[in-house]
């Protein structure tokens, strides 16, 4: 089981996210989905038939989960309270920062799994396909997402750098 770190141990964006009403998060999540579809079409090719499945991404230290439906023509990312999340084919759970580093390409998913910091349940094949598809993005998906924020891109970039620093980029590699 994952112990939730004390709020004071977390980097500053996480406590803020705790209190964020989910509808406020939705425009940002929609932007992320649209940006990935626009800039990384190869991700959907790699997913193959698994692009039609749905995934719960569960940051265990936050009070909500993300539901990813990577349909190529209309990918969607939405936030749900953990208890109300819809049925999904697969679930990937870990701390926010471990999931962030994984998606950012700076942590190895197998190593995280071996150390029991990553939990996967449901359709394992779909999860493996998603992991491999995201890993084929040079510089990481996060890098390409920050560009979607237009005039706010510098703020997004600073936030990401902050997360990388505090989240311990490469912490499982030392």
């Amino acid at each position: 089981m994952f112990a939730s770190p004390a709020a004071s141990d977390r980097p500053w964006p996480l406590p803020l996210l705790r209190f964020l009403p989910l509808p406020l998060l939705q425009p940002i999540l929609t932007l992320i989905g649209t940006q990935v579809a626009k800039t990384q079409p190869d991700v959907f090719l790699r997913l193959g038939p698994h692009a039609l499945k749905s995934f719960i991404i569960d940051p265990t230290d936050l009070p909500f989960v993300l539901v990813l439906k990577p349909k190529p023509e209309a990918p969607s990312l939405s936030a749900w309270r953990r208890d109300n999340a819809p049925y999904s084919h697969a679930r990937i759970a870990g701390t926010f920062l471990d999931l962030f580093d994984l998606i950012d390409g700076s942590l190895d998913g197998d190593a995280l799994f071996f150390s029991r910091k990553l939990r996967v349940t449901g359709d394992t094949e779909a999860i493996v396909a998603l992991r491999n598809a995201l890993d084929d993005v040079d510089g990481g998906v996060v890098e390409s997402i920050t560009k979607a924020f237009g005039p706010l891109a510098p703020v997004a970039t600073i936030t990401v750098s902050h997360l990388r620093r505090l989240g311990g980029r490469g912490k499982n590699h030392e």
Partner: protein, 338 residues
């Protein structure tokens, strides 16, 4: 080993499951990168992994522009009546300009040597050729230029084989290690109906299920079989049958019948391997991430360069990337490894 013999500069052969991984490996110091196509012609036929013909062509261009090589693994065994897929893979490799293909099946080797005589052939570890006689046979019949040795020989035995064969030797130095005769294991086939050696996947993800109960105990299943149960906080491994824990009547507790989850790491034996006549050092892990590729390739680049400069090998700690967070030197150090 004889310490008076100067080590030869080896080629560092690194894995890539995706084009981004290939670029990462090249940028991290790989001399050569090996990869596979998106089908059963290679032994890492995993969902979302591997290269389209177009990606392969672009990746070869990327590597060649930087003076590095690309090898294509066509290292599974075609089932009867399905040979066309393997013929196509050899043709794709040739037209993409890869530096060699890695083959296991004699039919594929014969076809490639006959139809593409200019294409360099390496003998895959999957061929299981470990004796000088078996290796010489492949060299004479199919023009094999390099053999990837099965992970069953000590360094002294590798040196002995080297003296008796006409081709180069490539030896694994890091990564996942199986217990069975390479290219002959049928455990996955027995449990799932999918063949490691013909379909290119051990423990197919579609048949793997993970379940964690309220106590944090993780149960790993392959098909209808429980492979292992990890207590809360206990490090895990791949869902492969050879590294599972099983109960039986003569053991009071479930036990590792074959071997514990652990990875090969020969970084301490690099100077010996280099003196034994090994031309190429191979890192396993086409199924792993760019983060793994970057860390492991950079660590071995540093170690090899240090040895060539006459320094003590710089051995970076790679334990966090190993299966079960445990390492072994397997059979390379001594035959006591089971």
């Amino acid at each position: 080993m004889n310490d008076d013999v100067a080590p030869r500069r080896p080629e560092l052969v690194c894995p890539a499951g995706t084009p981004a991984s290939l670029r990462t490996a090249v940028d991290a110091g790989a001399d050569t990168v090996y990869c596979g196509l998106q089908n059963a012609t290679n032994a890492r036929n995993f969902p979302g992994l591997n290269f389209s013909p177009e990606e392969l062509r672009k990746s070869v261009d990327y590597a060649h522009a930087r003076g590095r090589k690309v090898l294509l693994a066509v290292n599974t065994f075609p089932p009867a009546g399905q040979f066309q897929l393997w013929k196509d893979a050899v043709g794709i490799a040739a037209s993409a300009g890869v530096d060699a293909i890695i083959v296991a099946d004699m039919g594929v080797a014969a076809y490639a040597s006959r139809e593409y005589p200019q294409l360099r052939l390496h003998l895959s570890v999957q061929a299981g050729a470990s004796s000088p006689e078996a290796i010489r046979f492949h060299c004479e019949e199919f023009g094999i230029r390099r053999v990837v040795l099965p992970r069953i020989l000590t360094v002294a035995e590798i040196a002995d084989v080297h003296r008796q064969i006409p081709c180069e030797i490539e030896a694994f130095v890091f990564g996942n290690i199986g217990m069975m005769a390479e290219g002959r294991c049928s455990l996955t086939n027995y449990v799932t109906g999918i063949s490691t050696n013909m379909d290119g996947v051990c423990s197919p993800a579609a048949d793997v299920r993970y379940e964690e109960d309220a106590d944090g105990t993780l149960t790993t299943r392959l098909g209808s079989f429980v492979i292992d149960q990890y207590r809360c906080g206990e490090n895990g491994g791949y869902p492969t049958i050879c590294k599972g824990r099983y109960g039986c009547s003569v053991q009071s507790e479930p036990y590792y019948a074959f071997e514990e989850p652990r990875s090969l790491n020969l970084s301490a034996l690099l100077p010996d391997l280099m003196r034994a006549g090994v031309t190429a050092l191979k890192i396993e892990g086409r199924q792993r991430s760019r983060a793994y590729v970057k860390s492991v390739v950079a660590a071995f680049r540093l170690a090899v360069d240090g040895i060539m400069a006459g320094e003590e090998p710089a051995l970076t700690d790679l334990i966090a990337l190993t299966e079960g967070h445990k390492e072994t030197q397997g059979a390379f150090q001594s035959k006591s490894w089971r």
